[in-house]
Symmetry: C3
Subunit: 153 residues, 3 copies
Amino acid sequence: MASLMEDEVFRSFAKYAAIVIVKMMLMGPWTAYYRMTRKAFANEEDAAAQSKKPEDKKRLLRSDEDVERARRCHQNDLESVVPFVLIGLLFTLTGPDPFWALVHFRAFVGSRLVHTVAYMFALPQPSRGLSWIVGLLTTLSMCHSVIHAVLFH
Amino acid sequence: MASLMEDEVFRSFAKYAAIVIVKMMLMGPWTAYYRMTRKAFANEEDAAAQSKKPEDKKRLLRSDEDVERARRCHQNDLESVVPFVLIGLLFTLTGPDPFWALVHFRAFVGSRLVHTVAYMFALPQPSRGLSWIVGLLTTLSMCHSVIHAVLFH
Amino acid sequence: MASLMEDEVFRSFAKYAAIVIVKMMLMGPWTAYYRMTRKAFANEEDAAAQSKKPEDKKRLLRSDEDVERARRCHQNDLESVVPFVLIGLLFTLTGPDPFWALVHFRAFVGSRLVHTVAYMFALPQPSRGLSWIVGLLTTLSMCHSVIHAVLFH
């Protein structure tokens, strides 16, 4: 374990993984903020916490486009960030070239920050599409490296 | 590897991670049970396995509030448990104080058990909200520890 | 780290984890392909990239059964593949019997390939149900092994 912390690729991976996990997790409070301010809830008990009047319940149990957009962005993070961290750790443990590894980590984290801005502020395409593809290709490239490393060990 | 199993923080993390992963995975069968008993399916082939009559198909392809609640609880697990296990492993590998690490693992697992009960039995708010926030803060605290550990190594 | 790459269970796990992560990630482009060919988008800016005419916007912002099926398959991967990789790594690090570990990894990856074919081509049940259960039981068995290994270390 001490030896892992001595490895610069591991330290670099741990830092970028933590950053992108924090970014992903912040989508939860972001969605909750939209639910509170737009008054759009999914659960009866959440609506009941806002108003006890029965006539308000139906009005509060609704979907809202801002909430749905935040949820779609969060979902895309689950589909992109989680595979990156999973394969990134295996990639790190195969002992890659430090410079090459850093290029992967930075390209991924950068692409996801662009993706979040493009999604949440509804920037015109292809900004979101391209940032999504960069993240995808970076992760697939690490998958290829892992398979290559274990097959030709 | 043998050395990892000698580490008490790793053994503790592995145990709590396995518990909370099992909890998360059980949401799948829980949802399937509601789909079967409430007769509410998402796929044509699932409805066809229940009844061959064409007039039944439309009746079986519907959404049900119990099913949707189980799905939302499962989704919240994906958004909370998966980041905990990802960052928890990196946190463990940075060599944290064993007592402090254990506090994090237990606070997270406890908060998620409360969250599941609060969600599935629709307990009044803020029970679910508070348990969700405890899990979130515990995970963010581990993210902070990981970044601090690798920057000041 | 070098020692991990010397371990045959780790190399085997890394290979199968990478394969099943690639499979999961390909659901993203698969969904995007259906969105483009079926002309069914979730975001206004995506519809706007297809046609500038305001009357087209409503027609393009719709849900499509092929798109929804791909999304459900992707979601099931998130719920199944991610726990497998998380617990599989911990399982690998507890030093399991190599043959027994390989049985788990192959059963899981095989079950998920069958699951994807059964889902995307709407094969009659119980093909999808059974493949899902095999993957679930394989992962739960690894959870049990991890807990047993750390408790009786």
